[in-house]
């Protein structure tokens, strides 16, 4: 943004703390757009935003926050309540464990870590919500691939928001 003033005041502390939560909740709320979905192909944008924050700005969302954000996601997504609470917390810990072993990371390693977390969370959500005999696994695979491919775009948006937040 060329027009932005060079010495802008940082965002007030309250807004800077709330902004990451708000982006994740907006991501969860994308399910209320009027899609008539025959299959569950929409990527979980709330989870993508959460993982982007975790990988790009680790202190923006506290460790205990994924449970609350996951509860909100459960209430709007139609998954059984508690599944995203549990799985998002697990995904957060998974990212932390991988991060502790990775040393210096670049974009590609971030993407691989996020892909693992996305796959684990979506597969866990499928196991929690749907009986084992249901024929949803092909659609789930496509949804996982779509989510992984869309992760860089979400991470880019989150990085822009983070830059505006001005730490």
């Amino acid at each position: 943004m060329a027009s932005a003033p060079p010495f802008r005041e940082p965002m007030p502390l309250g807004s800077a703390r709330l902004l990451p939560w708000a982006t994740v909740m907006i991501g969860s709320l994308l399910t209320i757009l009027p899609f008539g979905a025959t299959l569950s192909l929409l990527p979980p944008f709330g989870l993508l935003a959460l993982l982007s924050w975790r990988l790009l700005a680790p202190f923006a969302i506290r460790r205990w926050a994924p449970a609350f954000l996951g509860l909100f996601d459960d209430l709007v997504s139609g998954q059984p309540v508690g599944s995203a609470m549990l799985l998002w917390t697990l995904a957060y810990f998974l990212v932390g464990a991988l991060e502790a072993r990775s040393g210096l990371r670049d974009f590609w390693q971030n993407w691989v870590i996020a892909a693992l977390a996305i796959a684990v969370a979506l597969a866990g959500g499928r196991l929690a919500a749907t009986p084992l005999g249901a024929h949803v696994d092909v659609a789930l695979g496509v949804q996982v691939i779509l989510s992984i491919l869309l992760f860089p775009a979400v991470a880019f948006l989150i990085a822009r928001v983070d830059a505006r937040r001005g730490r």
Binding site: F35, L75, G125
Partner: protein, 304 residues
């Protein structure tokens, strides 16, 4: 970027306790999530109040976005419809002329049917239309298949009522909030609808598969020999879905199960109607027949 060194924040006790309690809270959040998950798996309608509360807020937004999208996406169609208006008019007039004899025959059959039904004193039960509403959003990220209806208990919608669209059966109401209701769609893996084959009335069950199709399963043990193209309508047994609503058409044949495609597609949901729960008409009460049953009278037996 380098991994953050947040596990050992230095010598500050305060910072160390902060990290420690952060982990404790995160683990507690995960455990609470697991407990809530177990609760909602044991009792799927738990937390319906919380879901309905949020849906009350989101459904108007979904409706407004849908109206805006329909308005914008309708403009090209509206323009395109002007190009072949004359040809289409001629085609429709010809079609109407061709269809007139069939219409008359159908009308006569309807009259005769009504007369015969009166003769037989068939007791019909037509579930009334409770409300016509719109499915404003579906569970697009979840492997479950739900729709959100923008009408609720204030409009008379109750749990369990069937929902049908112009093309066929859509599903049934799972949870009703004040102004919104969640609809379990036909293709959800936990949806089962009793159906019968239109050709010969063979009873079967239409169970959702989760991938936009339904499995037709035979109820009797003998071979059903489903064929591709078989049409299934709701049978009315079970007492939720009224009889004679189009459900699905078989894509492939099979001896005991067949894969079928529902007539009502979620990507084409527009207006749907919520009907009253269908209850089969009660059997007529047995008429009392005086004098038919001999009963020993105590007065008569007292006489020697």
């Amino acid at each position: 970027m380098a991994p953050p060194r947040d596990r050992r924040p230095g010598f500050s006790r305060r910072a160390q306790y902060g990290v420690f309690f952060g982990y404790i809270l995160a683990i507690a959040g995960g455990v609470v999530g697991a407990v809530l998950l177990a609760l909602s798996l044991l009792n799927p309608v738990a937390f319906s109040t919380a879901r309905a509360t949020i849906a009350e807020v989101t459904a108007p937004v979904s409706s407004a976005v849908a109206v805006a999208v329909d308005g914008v996406s309708g403009i090209p169609d509206a323009i395109a419809s002007w190009f072949d208006v004359h040809d289409k008019n001629a085609a429709l007039v010809a079609q109407l002329a061709r269809a007139r004899p069939a219409l008359v025959a159908g009308h006569l059959a309807q009259l005769e049917n009504a007369r015969l039904r009166r003769l037989l004193a068939v007791r019909d039960l037509q579930p009334s239309v409770i409300v016509t509403a719109r499915i404003v959003s579906t569970s697009a990220t979840s492997t479950r298949r739900y729709g959100l209806l923008n009408a609720g208990t204030w409009q008379g919608v109750r749990e369990g009522q069937p929902v049908q669209g112009p093309e066929g059966l859509v599903g049934r109401v799972l949870e009703a909030g004040p102004n919104t209701a969640r609809v379990l769609l036909l293709t959800d893996p936990q949806s089962i609808v009793p159906v019968r084959r239109l050709r010969d009335g063979l009873p079967a069950l239409a169970a959702g598969r989760g991938d936009g199709l339904v499995d037709i399963r035979v109820i009797d043990t003998d071979d059903a020999h489903f064929k591709a193209g078989d049409v299934f309508v709701s049978s009315g047994s079970g007492g939720i879905f009224g009889p004679g609503v189009l459900v699905a058409r078989a894509l492939r044949g099979g001896a005991e199960t067949a894969i079928a495609k529902p007539f009502a597609r979620p990507d084409a949901f527009d207006l749907v109607t919520v009907r009253g729960v269908y209850a089969p008409p009660p059997l007529p009460a047995p008429a009392p027949t005086p004098g038919a049953a001999p009963s020993p009278s105590p007065a008569a037996s007292a006489i020697p």
